[in-house]
Symmetry: C2
Amino acid sequence: MTQHGIEHLFTDTVRDTMGSGVYGDWRSIQNADAVPLAFGFPYPESLPNGELVSAAESLLAAEPDRALQYGGGDRAAGLRDVIVDRARDRGIDCSTDAIHLTNGATRAIDTVCRVFLEPGDEVVVEAPTFMGALGIFRNHGATVTGVDVDEEGLDVDALAEDLAARAERGAPGPKLVYTIPDFQNPTGVTMATDRRELLLDLAETHDFVVLEDDPYGRLRYDGVDRPPLKALDSADRTVRINTFSKTIAPGVRTGWIVADERTAAQFDRIDAGGEPSFTRGLIDTYCADGRLDRAVSRLCEGYEERRDRMLASLDAYMPPDVGWSEPSGGFFVWIEFPDGTDTEAMLPEAIDAGVTYLPGSFFYAGDDGDRFARLSFSHAAPAAIEDGIEALARTVSDGVPSTDGRLGRGR
Amino acid sequence: MTQHGIEHLFTDTVRDTMGSGVYGDWRSIQNADAVPLAFGFPYPESLPNGELVSAAESLLAAEPDRALQYGGGDRAAGLRDVIVDRARDRGIDCSTDAIHLTNGATRAIDTVCRVFLEPGDEVVVEAPTFMGALGIFRNHGATVTGVDVDEEGLDVDALAEDLAARAERGAPGPKLVYTIPDFQNPTGVTMATDRRELLLDLAETHDFVVLEDDPYGRLRYDGVDRPPLKALDSADRTVRINTFSKTIAPGVRTGWIVADERTAAQFDRIDAGGEPSFTRGLIDTYCADGRLDRAVSRLCEGYEERRDRMLASLDAYMPPDVGWSEPSGGFFVWIEFPDGTDTEAMLPEAIDAGVTYLPGSFFYAGDDGDRFARLSFSHAAPAAIEDGIEALARTVSDGVPSTDGRLGRGR
């Protein structure tokens, strides 16, 4: 009976999923001496250093006895009102009781999984999708199924066909469908409104939860907003996740979930304790007097310039057999190289040439995406973005390792 | 098949435990106009408002491009070294890979549960124990069993007897034994060293995890330190939780777990994402140049004065048939009223008289603790503590509602 250590006491799900990681070794890409097109980091000049120091001073002067105390003061409590207002701006009418605050959007995905997913439950994801979400679903022992994405977002017709065929033969459907409808990670595409409506219909017919992850929704550089799934949903099927990481700063790591009030109460219970009241008060203070809206406007200018520079550089430098998405917002361009390209194998060469990216395979649950890569225009300066794209084009044109391991031409 | 809403899609464990809450309605006690002896809040003057503003300025000046970025800069990374040093001070030799950072100690308990507890697994707790932990164990569908606490802490001999009897008849044992060995919440008692050693032996023999929660360990006002369980444990059976909430401020809500490196890696995976890099950098910056040690010294002076005032006031005002613990550190005194007292029923009267406390029943998994209450000396000013104890003594002496609902004498 006596055993050294406690690993054998891990839960079945932990032991079954131990091999995988939510984030991989590719974090080392971050330290490469190259133009950083790999990660969805905001550009350094956008970080509101001075404003947050001012907000801290103002918060602690206004609430010296409460800002750092358990529960925080009125400012920390007021953050829910800020979020209700932001939801209303997007056409979502909800009360503060419908909001569960989290330590960022990834933790929010995890909390949703804890309330809905049993090991073995199926989650449908966009193929490709946010790799952090794939890791979280795996942690919960879920079976992950991908449905293709095209220029209009998730191919909801294909999902409908699949679900109808399953229903026909009595096969079970998914518990959860996970989507990033606006400026999707990694493709940059936005889901068409009629697809959103169809997805909600499918949720009712096939009895699943729609998990809407919208970190980029306010970062639109052209075109007009589409209604969030949560705003279109009259049946309380949608659980919506959002974050301040992209509009204030990643380091404040505060996100939230909007759901029906009864579901939000369970998120509150399952995720109880650990409220960072200082950070919440800080964000509420920062958001006062329209500062968040002004910050978002400035961010949109900065990101639009970067996106434009990236798209123009792709046009200027890439060989003709390379294609890419043209996002109206968000952080990412999805690039497609010719058949036979293996972007994971090509990455060290690209880094040598002076640019980083994330290989497409990172964004698929299964074995897929070798020809693709995600380029982030959020992090580097415009001129560096051009240098990076030029370096990437050079890498591709110089000949890239193909999937069978030999060097081949990029086209 | 079509159903409105998504509640029916909750997991079995969520549905089985929906009725309970981690924290109850008693949060309203916080707003009573009375001397606050209910909650383990640090006293307002101890909150390091100015120091945290300075730390924020210094951090953002030193790392303008990284402090608010994903992952943070060297300061956020350095927090693990601060924690390794603190562990070494308590006799625990570990690497940074053995540390998992969390958003406070309660979230740390939850993370440990996620890695070890299947629904139906048994957790042994001290009776009484921290109510937040009881809520978390319930959330995981665990069966919670209490073992008595006396002046020397958890009655490990009683646990040994129970486990031996179970082994004899082939009954299963617990997966986890949860203990707060130093200045226990709510009793204030500290576990004897020989009991610590015996508990670790039991963990080996009966194959369970020891969960050591030590939020108060550095707040000792007299006597000598006992070695943490983790320091005595040569078999990697102990998972140790700690927090900066009691030594810096609750609002920064940052805690950590020390375990063997393989177990810590699973905590990292299960709890991935959502790292509040700004807060972590802030704490690391705050802790530089011995500031944390100086802060702890000041806190010990402030808390010792409050503890002494509370104990002296209890001596001066309480009727002779009331007893209480005499803690050497931490935040809490545990008070025992005569048979027939119902501290939950008495609370409204106590609030009318000008004092709050937490009824003993809140700290038991089962139906127990009616005669007891937890008094916190951490929050109120010394003179207010005396007023509060005088008001409580008056309430008790004036006649209190007994458990059968009639008013009776307090003794």
